[in-house]
């Protein structure tokens, strides 16, 4: 079961909320302080991409963020429900203006540059970006 699950309307103003929640849960899960900036950035990039896909395809469903604390790792899944998610995978060139297309590819470039364990899957019903970070055991609070 997910430690924390978040669903938000696909609007740019909510991406910051997703970043803050993800960083807070990651900190609690024992992700190293030095890595929290990376978690914040990577989840922001994944949510930004999902919001963009929903908005450009008129998908009204919310964007889902699943934060899971596991034994030795903390994982984040960001899922979109855009049917054209697959068509926007890296390497394809949809008909958008140069800047928007560049941003989408740059978002994925940032994620793959930041996160060692990352997996991007796409299907007809949407796409999922899965990322994980190692955690260190936390001392018990007495």
């Amino acid at each position: 079961m997910a430690t924390v699950e978040l669903r938000f309307s696909a609007l740019p103003e909510h991406v910051r909320t997703a970043r803050l929640v993800a960083a807070a849960v990651a900190r609690r899960a024992g992700v190293d302080e030095a890595v929290l900036d990376e978690v914040r950035l990577a989840v922001g990039e994944a949510c930004t991409r999902a919001v963009g896909l929903h908005l450009s395809n008129g998908v009204e469903a919310p964007v889902r963020v699943i934060l899971t604390e596991e034994e030795k790792k903390f994982s984040i899944e960001v899922g979109d429900e855009s049917p054209t998610s697959a068509a926007l995978a890296p390497g394809s060139h949809p008909e958008t203006d140069d800047e928007a297309e560049g941003e989408d590819e740059m978002g994925l470039a940032v994620i793959s540059g930041l996160v060692d364990d990352v997996e991007v899957t796409t299907s007809e019903t949407g796409g999922v970006i899965r990322m994980s970070w190692p955690t260190s055991p936390q001392p018990l609070v007495s």
Binding site: P12, R16, L41, G44, G52, V110, G113
Partner: protein, 113 residues
Amino acid sequence: MDLSLSTRTVDDRTVVEVGGEIDVYTAPKLREQLVELVNDGNYHLVVDMEGVDFLDSTGLGVLVGGLKRVRAHEGSLRLVCNQERILKIFRITGLTKVFPIHTSVEDAVAATD
């Protein structure tokens, strides 16, 4: 935290001081500011990022867009940044080769190609 923007002129350069978070929500404001400056004939820009707490690829896209616009007028866009967490994003995307990045506004204003 929201995005704050202020501009001032130093010699023949226009310095844009940016503060707060540049993300998918706030980046359009930065884009508007850069477009407006270029439309008003300011082709040599220095973007001071020392007050920026967060930058994502949307923000990078806006900066690249700004660079394209000033270059169309043979202008320049220089960045001022000393924060490792922001510099890292430029490095992993290869943009350190695209933008001149300076350690101070004085240095950026004095620089020539």
